[in-house]
Structure formats: structure tokens, C-alpha cells
Amino acid sequence: MASALMNRIARVGRRGLDTLASLGRAGFFLWRSLVGAPNPSVGGPLLIQQIYRIGVLSLAIVIVSGLFIGMVLALQGYTILTDFGSESAIGQMIALTLLRELGPVVTALLFAGRAGSALTAEIGLMKATEQLSSMEMMGVDPLRRVMAPRLWAGFISMPLLALIFSVVGIWGGMLVGVEWLGVFEGSYWGNMQASVAFADDVVNGVIKSLVFGVACTWIAVYQGYDCVPTSAGISAATTRTVVFSSLTVLGLDFVLTAVMFGSF
């Protein structure tokens, strides 16, 4: 009886140690990939190629989602705000919701599904087909050559994508609120300008999306690098990327919101 309990405690302890060890490995991985002066003539084209694949190719899904979310916000906001006769505040509501929360969070979730899963699968397959090993044997460090450009591309792309998401959302909100539901255009933009503070709202939103970008890209690239190099292993790693990224983003969002916008 007592030994069964001890076994259980030991298992929990071992699980905890394993988690810590893998966090340590992931941290070391990030450090070794990013530290050191890059060679611009080699790294530049690789980075641009990855920004294209990670950022530019995610534009379509981000723009379409931003548009719809802005339009839905306008519809819902209008219904509630008319009850209080304050539908002219709809611009302010949409802009703040998007810039502070939905822009960074939804973009990060889309990013994890669209770009993160692709990164994990690509790197995992490179590992399974010995491409990473063969690079090492050619005297080229795959961390610097393969991982670093992908990490930087994710870090750079995410804040830009989130900003684009918010801007398109605000425009979508205007389409529904002003063009369709008949809110006065002057008050849509005027209320927004009066209430959105650049430092508090825009900058904080960008910081959020930067943090999410680092988290999502790090998780995606590391899961690919660390996967078991078989088809089952790659599929499990891809799933982990999406699950871990989503949970991390939502958890971090709570923490960041509490720190940035909580009034205590």
C-alpha cells in the first residue's frame, strides 16, 4: 500500500523532472540557434525565403479571418450598444477589442495552425530523411542554417500579421457598422481616435503578438527538431505543436492582459 503510494509519488516526480529537462533542452536549442553573429550574405536570402513562406503565405487566412471577426464584432456590438443608445461607441469597442486581444490572440492561433504545423512537419521530415544529419556531416550546423532563419522569420512575421489582422478587422467593422447598420461615420472614427492610446493599446498589442510569435515559432521549430523521426513521430509532433501553441498563447494572454491592462 505504502509502496504503491511511493511509486505514484516517484512517477509524478519523474514526470516533473522529465518536463524540466525537456524545457532545458528546448531553451538550450533556442540559445544555440540564435546566438552568434549571422552571416548576412548567407542568412539574408534564407531569412527572406522563410518570411515569405511563414508570413506572406499566412496573409490570406489572416486577412479573411480579420475581416469576418471585425464584421461579427460590429454586428454583436451594435445589438448590445443600441440598448444603451450608445451605438456611436462601436468604433472604439471594435478597435480596442482587436488591438488589445483578438488581433494578437486569434492571429497566433491561426499562425500555429497554418505556419507552425507546417514548420514542425517540414523539420521533422528533414530529420527523418537524414537531411539534418547529412548537413552536420558536411560541416554545416543545422541549427544556424535551418532553424535560425525559421525562428527569426516567425518572430518578425507574427507582430506584422497581428497588426494587419486588427487593421482589416477595423475596416470590416466599419463596413458593417457604418455602411450597413448606419452608424455615423464621423463618430465611428472619432470615438476610436479619442479612446485608442498609441502607447497603451497599439504598443501593448504589438508586444503581446511578439511574445506569442516567439512562443509559437519556438514550439513549432523545436517540436520538429526533437521529434521521433518516423511517420507516427512526426504526426504526434505536429499535433503537439498546435495543442501546445494554442494553450501557451491563451495562458500567456491572460498573464499579459493582467499585467498590461489589469488595474491593480
Partner: protein
Amino acid sequence: MTDSSYILLDDVVFTRGSRRIFDGVSLAVPRGRITAIMGPSGTGKTTLLKLIGGQLRPDSGSIRVKGHDVPSLKRRDLYRLREDIGMLFQSGALFTDLSVFENVAFPLRVHTRLPDDMIRDIVLMKLEAVGLRGARNLMPAELSGGMTRRVALARSIALDPELILYDEPFAGQDPIAMGVLVKLIRELNAIMGLTSVLVSHDVPESLSIADYACIVSDGKVIGEGTPEALRNHASPKVQQFLHGNPDGPVPFHYPAPDARADWGGTVEGGAGRG
């Protein structure tokens, strides 16, 4: 190290998890020759090449390549040493997003500052050597298995290495591709003065091109010598491996409980082995 050996393994022990893959392997690879290392699948032949290339570290024992103690090399020195080593991976390991030409050009672009037209000349020369100059614009997905391996071979000799490691070059090849590869390995070794290490479980092909061969099984070297010496080796284990006998010192049956335990004692004759 003696002058004539390029690689020297001394009492190498390597474990993976709880499994001891090498249990004191000692081996000398002579310079300028083809050395075949043979053994059943899963004995750790690929692992051995990764130990030589410094991708894995042994638990104990020493691994010397060109006089350098590989496991203790600094990262930078290890990478410099690897520029002298070409490795042909079992799967070819071509970069799938680069064309045949760019695959072969890759090590040149990374390690040299040669102008583009010179890189082009070298790449075409290497592709010509493996008979694939005409395939330069194909992507890896468009190549057959044998062609993939030949392109990978061209890539691994792009920097004119001193040592080349072949991981199962013949596995899964049709007879013609196999013949081509045997010819290429032999010619490259003779013309470029390479030291070649060939890891394989294809006995006749390996023995036909090797100057020196050894057999690894259960974590140990069980026989070594020239192909003739190995063919006349006294050890029954060596003879079983060379002739591919299904049963012998290496049993046909995976260790299993007594047959009567599984079939309730009705089976005649000892089908089960302990």
C-alpha cells in the same frame, strides 16, 4: 596511431538507453583502402559511422580520425575535420528543396568562396563522374533510388574529401544500380586516393570490393581480415553470416518461453528455444 591507419577505434563502448550497442569495439581502418564493416541489421553499423563522424559520443574508449581524438574535439575543430569527410547516407539524404545541381553545389557554396562559374564547372565534373551530368536540373523527388544515391555520392565528393563513409550503399538497389555503385566506389577510391569505409550487410558485393573487412555482431568484432582470410575464418558465427545460413550460432528463433507453455505441451520435437 600508426602511419597506415586513418581511423583507429580502441575499446569503444556505446549504449543507447539500456541497450549496449558496442561493447568494446577496436578497429583500425587503413589509409587509402576500402574497408568493409559488415553485420546483421540493427547491430549498430549506422551508429558506428555516426561515432566516427562525431555525431555521437562513446561512453568510453577512443576514436581517432586522422590523429584527432574525435569525441574531445571542439565544435569548430570537429566541423573543420568533417570537411575532409564525405558521408553517403543510406537514404541519400538529398535536400528535397534543392535541385540536383544545387545539392552538389551546396558544400562548395558553404565552405568555399569560389566564383559561380568555377562552382558550376566543379559540380558538372562531379556529376559527370557519377554519370548524371544530364540530370542536373531534376529535383530529388524525380530521381530513382539508384540515381539518388549517385547524386548523394557526387555531393559527398564535392569538396574532394580524404575519407568517405558509405552507409549501406547497396541496400534496396536493383542489380544494375548495384553494379554501377560497386564500380563507382572502386573507381573513386583508386582515382582520388580516398580512404573508404563501407558499412553493409550485402556480403558478396562488400567482399568483392573491400581490401579489408570485419564483421560486427552483438557489440563486438567477431572476425576481421582480408576477404580471403574471412572466407576461411574458423568461427562458426562468421561462417553463418557469410553464407547466410538461417540457423546456427545466431538462432533462427527469437528468445521465447518453452513451447509447451504456449501450446499446452502437445507439440512434438523442441520447437521452442530458451
